[in-house]
Symmetry: C2
Subunit: 332 residues, 2 copies
Amino acid sequence: MDEVGIRDVAALAGVSVSTVSNALNRPELVSRKAATRVAEAIAELDYVPNVAARQLRAGRSNAIGMAVLNITNPFFSDVVLGAEEVAEEAGYSVIVGNSYDSVDREARYLSLFEQQRLDGVLIAPVGESIEMLDRFRRRGVPVVLIDRVDTSGVLPSISLDDVLGGRLAAKLLVEGGARHLAFIGGPLRVPQMRERLRGCREIVEAAGARFTFIETSTLNPQLGREIGDRLSALPSGERPDGIFAGNDHVALGVLQSLISHGISVPGEVSIVGYDDIDFASAAVVPLTTVRQPSHDMGGNAARLLLGQLTDRHDPGLRIRFDPVLVTRQTTR
Amino acid sequence: MDEVGIRDVAALAGVSVSTVSNALNRPELVSRKAATRVAEAIAELDYVPNVAARQLRAGRSNAIGMAVLNITNPFFSDVVLGAEEVAEEAGYSVIVGNSYDSVDREARYLSLFEQQRLDGVLIAPVGESIEMLDRFRRRGVPVVLIDRVDTSGVLPSISLDDVLGGRLAAKLLVEGGARHLAFIGGPLRVPQMRERLRGCREIVEAAGARFTFIETSTLNPQLGREIGDRLSALPSGERPDGIFAGNDHVALGVLQSLISHGISVPGEVSIVGYDDIDFASAAVVPLTTVRQPSHDMGGNAARLLLGQLTDRHDPGLRIRFDPVLVTRQTTR
């Protein structure tokens, strides 16, 4: 099959090749009418601007933009580190925007990345909408999702089987004798939180145990301490005896609070975290957790992105890691 | 005194006002000869391009670039968070470059920030050279140093009295009975490491105790574990009984290793960290440390930067925090 090229787009749109190029790369130079015709022609021809199109651009930034949910969470800073290592070898810098669980902040970072004509975007998205990301793709700027799968199958991604992760955590707690299990997690607009919840709930229901969902708007140690304080204040009959925390960051706060209130972990309450950050094994009681290979996930995401920048890798490639349970001392 | 303006610079350089503006904001449009004359006129008149000059620019990015030493160190991610909060309120985004203790990487980030015409730069510099930073300042792009003081007095800064921090840590160890004190830190091109070492050494020498300096090229938990393993293998008479770690990140690794080798902390070895990151209090043995107000340092740095963007604050302002010793359970 003949490759659809920029000339075909120009012909169908009835504009010059340089107008198509401008529409892709310097949209501010093109009239709204011309831009619409180009966009329609691109859609009709299913034209994907490629390396050649990108090379038409005046300047390359040699930089990749990376938007993460929370840079203070070591899981994400490890993902960043893994991506940086791979990008650096290929001569690219990575600049990071911390969305901090805010859709607005993420949107501002994406606008900035677009305006700065970065060569590619790595993103752990806050919400589910990937419209903004599609804009990059249409302009030939590759995007790779981290810790998220594009259900429409268009964008490549690096993710983890979070339903399995939820099941592994809950299974360990239930098998250790927990009769009242709590999941601490959120916000629920983040699909991986919903998946961890789903996997956990499945196991708990099958075991006929009691289930409590403590929904949060974010996950950090401070919040973990607050939740731990509330749980500690409950009569022991009302208190969950198994806690699955949405990430290690919040799990460590819960652990710290319970211990400070004289509640034995895992004697009275077992805890499982998620991520296996560096501090999990160094905690007061070393934390049992569901390991995500954060550094490798970042490195593979960068590799997928660079593959699109240098060759023409299949842009639909998805890599899905399986989580691994790391049993330490917060579980029976 | 009359304010020196862009017209004065143009008159002295014998070029038009718009050439001066271009030299400051779009140097690529100006001949080398004209650029040199403008630079000489700016130096002679001691002209500091100000808000008005910046407003001559075609587009504002509404973004601030931030370069930090190691984003996986919670001290720096907290500094970033503090800066983001303040910047966001003023309508600015912060994008982060992780220098990872590399002079080359830092230089690439600074070039990128310059090329992207960011509105300001916050930086915890890797080395001591601030030549590159001076280039921003000459173009009217404000720069604020974090965790570093510009000895020439030109750039504003937010820093901590690290000599005092070193003294506080060593004093606690010596008073707790340590007779052989080790400082783990580096690289020594980072002035705050030299200062912590200096403060520590002063106290140890005054007390007539033995001193060992374990110099490192970076500081992270993995390295801490390796150093801990080496110290654990020593006969107890050769092993330091007081450890002052250059940051909590490395201290937690040392602590974890010693405990895993059955060495009692603080029974046989006392440990003091630096920073008071969130995980310090949640460690196996809660870590005694020298607290840096990371979040406030980031916030204040952003405020100094924004002050220069919106008004004309004294660009030489330096804010120096005093460290506070937080005594927990790794010291006697």
